[in-house]
């Protein structure tokens, strides 16, 4: 204990380097550095070896270093329409799902944010709870519901609404359902956080001045909740583009999404350079919206601060 006490003075001076340095070091080593390696391997050549790619550089003779950068993987991605189609369809699916999450999530977040205070904690906890429950299992639950002899079809058949079972599993519709279902809490939470901080007296003022509720919503609430909308959309869109489990389990074998394609190239075709090139392209697509949205969010945040009396 005396030792600890004599150390404390020094430890505190060390604390910024500990607090900042240790997480920085970890993330630099295990998050940032890997991307550099992925990029370098995307420029390697696939080979029948362990690991299955060629080295980028080798010493050919004393003092001569030969570096081979192989752009074949990227050329393949550009030439084969399948990869472009997968990228576009991933972006499209993620975009549609983000909009659907927003359409469903916004009214839910609004209802929770304006509910009586004593209900709010419970309502919010019910949103968070599925997020804690196994994602894989929740996707699996939909398999049992959407199958052609599944619960939904049995239910609709017994009501006489349909004559033939609907084919939903292994269609794009199943992917949409799965993504909206899995990512809905990510949309609701930032929206809720934003809407609870909203100054509702502005709405009262608008009403007093003769503004109809819908106009007041469009002119006051919606612009003020923009940071929440942007944050929620980002939290849904970015991971949804690279989603693997949902297109694989619900979308079926022919479903076209880039995350599934990367998985197949890596695990089934053992083409590590091509999988790396796909990861780099996907990353490039996502880094831009990621940085843009974060800046936008910061700006909205600052504007909100300025507007506060």
């Amino acid at each position: 204990m005396t030792l600890l006490r004599s150390l404390t003075g020094r430890t505190w001076r060390l604390s910024p380097s500990l607090n900042i340095g240790l997480p920085y070091l970890w993330l630099g080593l295990f998050f940032l550095l890997p991307f550099v390696i992925v990029f370098s391997i995307s420029l390697a050549e696939p080979a029948l070896a362990q690991p299955p790619y060629t080295a980028l550089w080798k010493w050919v003779e004393e003092g001569v270093l030969e570096i081979r950068l192989n752009l074949q993987s990227y050329l393949l991605l550009a030439e084969d329409d399948l990869y472009l189609a997968a990228l576009l369809s991933s972006l499209w699916i993620a975009l549609v799902c983000t909009l659907l999450c927003l359409l469903l999530g916004y009214p839910m977040a609004y209802a929770i944010a304006t509910a009586p205070e004593r209900w709010r904690v419970l309502l919010l906890m019910l949103i968070v709870l599925p997020f804690w429950t196994s994602f894989l299992i929740r996707v699996y639950a939909w398999m049992g519901i959407l199958r052609s002899n599944g619960l939904l079809n049995n239910f609709l058949l017994s009501l006489g609404l349909i004559e033939q079972p609907l084919q939903i599993l292994h269609t794009p519709l199943a992917i949409y359902i799965g993504i909206v279902y899995s990512y809905l809490p990510f949309m609701i939470l930032p929206l809720y956080a934003n809407l609870t901080r909203l100054d509702f007296s502005l709405l009262e003022a608008a009403a007093d001045l003769g503004c109809r509720p819908w106009r007041a919503f469009l002119a006051v609430t919606l612009p003020l909740s923009m940071p929440g909308i942007v944050a929620g959309s980002m939290l849904v869109f970015i991971p949804a583009v690279g989603e693997f489990v949902i297109p694989d389990l619900l979308g079926g074998p022919q479903s076209l999404m880039v995350g599934k394609m990367l998985w197949t190239e890596f695990f089934n075709n053992k083409d590590w350079p091509l999988a790396s090139a796909l990861a780099i392209v996907l990353l490039g697509l996502l880094v831009v919206p990621f940085v843009m949205l974060q800046r936008l969010e910061e700006r909205w945040g600052r504007r909100l601060e300025d507007e506060r009396p």
Partner: protein
């Protein structure tokens, strides 16, 4: 929730026009049904006698019995729980340090990069994290000879990398909202900063640490994609096993397993929720 009386209770725009709010509540009810019906059906059908998951043939707990005799599955579950526990413990330390840095050290050099590095793992698609970490481990093995093989260690490192970002979010929010007066009082009385941190700050943010630990634990227990990339032969986690059997089709054993997981997680969340609320109650 006794602190509601403090003034937040009346929201002019909110509760006033309840008559006009029914469309909102319809959407809310639909949303909750959408979130909960699939899981409830899963639980219901885990007690189904029939092997056909979609036909109800009477109440039975036989799938739970089969589950407990499935050695392969129990091994995978044990591996996953060990990984999750080690991951959560280290992620809480790193995440808390990161939260300290963000809340307590102001605008230090490289803060923007620090924040970006902490946010990116929250949204980065799993396939990218998994692939990049595997390639790192392969390169490290070639250059350093470590890690010797892929399995427990590599999966745990991978999980810590994204879990600590989640822990940082939770602890950061708590630290930012925390009253500083107790710390200042202790400081005025001559306590050294580390002493203040250990005996005042840490107990005050303990609920957030617990919530962070539990979240890191469940995130790790839940991860399929990243573990599949960075695992090696012989190390099969529970999600990897579930995935393999789910691809074969719907199986009643998985329903039973899902029910157990849902029950445990619900219990953990309720406990975390209760411990998070207690300090507030004590204050009033």
């Amino acid at each position: 929730m006794r602190e509601t009386a403090s003034g937040l209770g009346s929201r002019p725009g909110g509760g006033s026009a309840i008559g006009r709010r029914w469309p909102l509540f319809t959407v809310l009810a639909f949303g909750y049904a959408f979130l909960y019906v699939p899981v409830l059906l899963l639980i219901l059908y885990s007690f189904n006698e029939s092997r056909l998951v979609t036909v109800w043939a009477g109440f039975s707990t036989k799938w739970y019995g089969e589950l407990l005799r499935n050695q392969q599955l129990l091994d995978a579950a044990w591996l996953s729980v060990r990984i999750a526990a080690v991951n959560a413990s280290i992620a809480v330390v790193l995440g808390t340090l990161a939260a300290n840095a963000l809340v307590r050290h102001g605008r230090f050099r490289g803060r923007t990069g620090f924040e970006l590095l902490l946010t990116a793992p929250l949204v980065m698609p799993d396939v990218i994290i998994g692939l990049s970490l595997l390639l790192l481990f392969v390169a490290m093995q070639q250059v350093l000879g470590w890690p010797p093989g892929r399995g427990f260690t590599t999966i745990t490192i991978a999980h810590i990398t994204f879990s600590m970002a989640y822990v940082a979010v939770i602890v950061r929010a708590r630290l930012a909202r925390m009253e500083r007066s107790l710390e200042e009082a202790a400081m005025d009385l001559g306590a050294r900063p580390l002493r203040v941190y250990l005996s005042i700050t840490l107990p005050l943010i303990a609920p957030a640490l617990l919530a962070g630990w539990l979240l890191a634990f469940t995130l790790s227990l839940d991860d399929l994609v990243i573990a599949s990339f960075v695992s090696g032969p012989g190390a099969t986690t529970l999600p990897m096993l579930i995935y393999a059997s789910v691809r074969m089709g719907v199986s009643p054993q998985i329903n039973a397993l899902a029910t157990i997981i849902v029950a445990l997680v619900t219990l953990a969340v309720v406990i975390a929720g209760l411990t998070m609320r207690r300090p507030k109650g004590e204050r009033t």
